[in-house]
């Protein structure tokens, strides 16, 4: 057993571009991306809710596509570009999606929020005016226990300038 543990833990060097910065890091081959991003790179904005691919809290972008970081081996991301919630704002200026989440009251405990924001960011990048059904499809893997999704849904409509949705929080 101990031998097995040792061989499994022989480290490998990979390169990740995270939020535009290149990192060369030594990782265990079985390390999951969520742990590498949170523990080794130190970006804890990405959340870990279930470690089993069922909640969406760990959603981040790999080469622009929303992926579950808890179900992605870090070695598979060698040479890829990762984008996390920490990269959405431009300094102090929040992105329109982040603003829309606050305007609509789409954040409560905030634990699902980073994953939600990444899913929405990917959606809007590829589909600037998603239909109601497309919004639901894009967010179906992101659980939120606090909001009932209503405010999150409205935030996406606001961010995409649809249905005349106006802020409810000021």
């Amino acid at each position: 057993m101990i031998e097995a543990v040792k061989s499994r833990s022989r480290k490998r060097l990979i390169t990740l571009t995270v939020n535009g910065e290149e990192h060369e890091i030594a990782i265990r081959p079985n390390a999951m991306l969520v742990d590498v991003v949170r523990d080794q790179i130190g970006l804890t904005g990405t959340k870990s809710g279930c470690s089993s691919g069922s909640c969406g809290a760990c959603t981040l972008l790999i080469d622009g596509r929303p992926m579950l970081a808890c179900s992605t081996l870090a070695v598979e991301c060698d040479g890829k570009a990762i984008r996390t919630v920490e990269d959405l704002a431009d300094g102090e200026r929040l992105s329109p999606i982040q603003e829309a989440f606050l305007d609509q009251g789409a954040v409560q405990c905030g634990f699902c929020t980073p994953g939600m924001l990444m899913s929405v960011t990917a959606l809007i990048a590829s589909n600037p005016k998603p239909s109601h059904q497309e919004i639901k499809k894009a967010l179906e893997g992101n659980l939120c226990r606090c909001t009932g999704y209503n405010a999150i849904f409205n935030a996406v409509l606001q961010a995409t300038g649809q249905d005349g949705i106006k802020p409810i929080m000021f």
Partner: protein
Amino acid sequence: MSNLSFVGKSRKRKDGPDKVTGKAVYSQDVKLPGTLTGRILRSPHAHARILRIDTSRAKALPGVKCVITVDDTKGIKHGFVETPRYPPDQEVFARDKVVHIGQEIAAVAAINDMVAAEAVGLIEVEYEILPALFRPLASMKPGAVEIQPTHPKVDEPYTNIAGKTETEWGDVEQGFAEAHLVRTDRFESHLRTHGYLEPHVTLAHWENDKLNVWTSSMGTFVKRSKLAKVLDLPFSSVRIHKTYTGGTFGGKIDLYTHEYAASRLSMLTNRPVRIVASREEIFSAYRHGQPLTVELKTGVDRNGVLVAQQIKIINNAGAHRGSGVVVIFLCWGFTMAPYRIPNFKYEGYSVYTNYTTRAPQRGHGCPQVRFAIESQMDMIAEELGIDPVTIRMNNARDPEEDLPNSDNVHQAGLKDCLRLAAEKTDFLRNYGQTRKAADLAGSKRRGWGIGLSSYFTGSLIYPNGSGVMVKMNDDGSAVVLTGALDVGQGAETVISQIVAEELSLEMEDIKLVTSDTDTTPQDIGAWISGMTYVTGNASREAAGNAREKLLEVAAEQMNTPKSDLRLQDKMVISISNPDNRLSYRQVIAASVATHRGDTIIGEGFWRTMRDEPMHPSLATTKGRWSENYAFSVQVAEVEVDIETGEARLIKALTVHDCGFPVNPGLVKGQVDGQVSMALGHAFMEEVVTRNGSTLNTNWLDYRMPTIHNMAISEDADVITEQYKVGQPYRTKEVGEGLVSAILAAMANAVYDATGVRLHSTPFTPAKILSGLQKLEQKKAG
């Protein structure tokens, strides 16, 4: 208080920017160098004697730093309730026997998670299996295997009774004899879990005789008191730091063994220790809600006015007392608050079974009991030929009524809620239409249902009161020190609004230091439905105290009486001579210069029911319970597919009297979230167990609502205008009671759509189809 600028407005979340940028720190985000991984060995058996525990092989494994069992503890017990009648009953590790699957046997600290996992596997435990009981009726039978001793004050021949609540008034027998109609029904509810997204995480670091803890909680002061107690440390040696909590809904209030274990392991290794509960552990070994059996006998007169009601509740309470004895008390309260009941008899039994210990769960018994009462109310209405709105109107309490426990409902807006809910949904036009219609096309049927509920706003339980400090900075901005914890409800926002209002500051002028047991004043915590009321009023007092101090110094400096002064934009201005003005900065400087160096610090304290010495009796219900009762009426529009039996909530309307809404946008968020949780309760969620073992231990198998299940959620508040007049701080509960009436409304709506009356949750396709089948047979036969 006519021109409110902050209170009563939908101000954006104070913690919002941090939460959308990933800066908000949760317990899992705190990292310390040299941290060890802790892991817990849990019982695989539901009921067994422990014959032997051997940790030697685990201890010998390279990389293992420490292994502890019950022998390494001081044997100090804890409990959700700790009163003379219900003393603490739980040890942090099993001693001599285990009483549920997942019970903690031992904990290890190791250099990484792989070694920790291997070490746990090397601990040898020898068990002698005992018969296990999972149904309360079997468990309470005289002569059943004893899980825990029956409470000594229960002198009935039952076994495994954790506690009993009983009370009565009037004469129910006579009431039933005089009633025009008497109905007896029985309702069952099922096991559900909280579903907080953030798993339990605890990081503990013992350093220089001080234990620093970061843990997912619902109130750091409650955690501190219990943790310090079981560790036998003075409170001053335990510091619970602030972290945001990623959802709780009741599931993070108790002391959990992983919190003790991380702490103790850190004390023994002098290294930080982190324990993360896996989602599978949470589903299988952590605390869930409380399934109740409700037997309900109700007598009414010709108009459906209640004459007598008798209710018996049996709680499947798990293997320790937990909050089970609170649920059976609360169910009494949730029964007596909304309707007048002249003759009443109540019995609640909390019964041990070999399930995991139970925790409070949003609503804490209210959804289960309102489901029963409101379902039966509709059945009675139908028998009498009265509509569902009128029968409720005939029983609903009026403002200023005294309750049987000598509480008063004050401006209860219940009847206004009923009127408005019926009007907004055109309820009486819609209700009954589907069942009346002949030959409807397709398989989809719409139904409308209504329910009502009342919830208390804070009660007396440790720490009973909240303190708040407002420290004015030299530049006129303020730092607020509060023990309040933002678990998502918006505590930080609401407190900032109140301080901004009272001190004429902008939201940006206020910075908060919160929920740190060493640096902030004690707080009741986010779990007794009273934070906005109790901590909110403490904040008002603290800001008011700072304001008075500012005004006193300003009056001296400006040579004008205090009554001539007003505050605006961080200035103190003379009303009679507006040119006579000083900035806060100048006033504070003057205070330091002329008053022994006094800076301006305001203090405020609040406690509900100030004249009551303590909480009401859980056993007899005697004593005051709350000084603010919230009321709500909810209407559900449900669609049932009569071919598949599949039902879903299309639209919910929530009309509530939550007192004065300090932040209507946040109230709306609470409404939507509760409607969603309730639809999960009704149609989707169930912790499925076999012999005490959870079969669905992840979210793929435990179906929680996703965005596809989202229902339209509308809300309206009533009588807000009344509160505006001098009472903008008369706030009431709005964060958990609203999971209740809507559950009943959905059951009533399923009936309205199909004619199928459901007596148990969840409302599954199988139950609905079998109900439809029975109706067919009845029609045919």
